[in-house]
Amino acid sequence: MSRLTLLALQILVAVVALALWQLFATVPVFGKILLPPFFFSTPIDVASQIVKWFSSGVIWKHLFITLLESALAFVIGSIAGILVGFWFARQPRVAAVFDPYVKMINALPRVVLAPIFALWLGLGIWSKVALGVTLVFFIVFFNVYQGVKEVSATVLDNGRMLGMNERQLTRHVYWPSALSWMFSSLHTAVGFAVVGAVVGEYLGSAAGLGYLIQQAEGIFDVAAVFAGMFVLSAFVILIDFGVTLVERRLLVWRPAAAEGRG
């Protein structure tokens, strides 16, 4: 299949889906509307809601807030994950002591922490950042830990025979290996940062895409709920695209077959 045909088919799927949606929401089949607009809205209403948000400019503030929360959650969670992952991997005794607690916290569905964070940190951005951090941290932590542990014994011996001391081994061997594992999970980590932010907003906030969706739901404005979902997925796709660009730049040394781990 050529790229053009593929693209045409992909667009066709969207067009058919939207057309069916519009059709069943407006034209009765055997005297019955299959998708009542009150519950399902219509593509045209959703589109006009999106246009309204962007033309009036209201959406920018919410997008910015969600982006800020996601970015902060990602940065803080990653730094913490890298530091703790590195520390545990190099100090097996520390890792052994903390192991059951790490497993326990990781087993906890993070959403239940949202009320606690709202209580501790208020309804501003920091309670959402905290929720995102708990999600991002574990992904980065496990990958960095694995990355340090899985350094090839031969490469390590080679480093030692070339005269590296522990500090140089950390810099030239452990660190690049850990980072490569972390970058391979970059998509997941960034995705979870956004999840943390939006779920946090949904459960209680004054701004952000999650807030927008939650508000619309409160007044049964289904068109706005769908509009919020569309904006959110476009937002995530854009971020994901950015991550792919960064990844391509950072992992040039890796054979193509090994990509997409994690």
């Binding site: 090839s152 080679n158 030692r160 070339l162 490569s180 890796r254």
Partner: protein, 274 residues
Amino acid sequence: MGGRMPTAVALEDATVAFRLADARIYTAVEKASLSVEQGEFVAIVGPTGCGKSTLLNVAAGLLKPAAGAVRIFDAPLTGLNRDAGYLFQADALFPWKTALDNVAIGLEIKGVSHTEARARAQKWLTSVGLGAFAGRYPHMLSGGQRKRVGLAQVLIRDPKILLMDEPFGPLDAQTRQIMGNLLLELWNADRKAVLFVTHDLEEAIALADRVVIMSAGPSARIIGDWRVTLKRPRDISEVRMEKEFHELHREIWSVLKDEVMKGYAQSTQAAGAG
């Protein structure tokens, strides 16, 4: 010879044992004595799994012998052997560094400036025939090219001793010959002490001044030591045509053959013995 030069590598009754998972002790090598003089190229040949690599790791300081002594230039070895460069059997290049950076790193960790290290690394890459591949990452190079980078990575540090663990094992026959000739050419320039492990007797005779034979493991011992007097400089593919080569090969093979059979029998009977 009046004043004796210190021996580059001397193993004296070295015994190496490992503790297995079920707490039994597995003796890989028993009472091995071996010496490599300065400027001498010694090859160790033995059946698969006989502990040749173990012996090399002892000389490198990566493994401590359970009994016996290791002397490097007549001084007892403690910790890693700082006079040795080690060329591994498996891929040991840093996959996240380009060929150039892989070679330069050996100098950089010694404190040589980045610019100078890279300039010297470029020269070494050129001398192993990879001048045009400096910017490639290891996964973009062929197996033979990676071995060339590995050779440059080790030699740029100018070690007094070269330890090589079946370095050309994974390569195809033609590439092995080319690499063998490259190694001899580079070695000929300053004649370092070399300890070269291989399972290929022909390769050993073609390269070395002395060929040492090990028995099949466990508790492998050194069971033979032959001097190769073929004249240097040698060409790997031509030296194989000489009469002396054939006579030596026949003589050594008559000893090695039994061990190879023993080693094969053991490896087929007792899987999991190590």
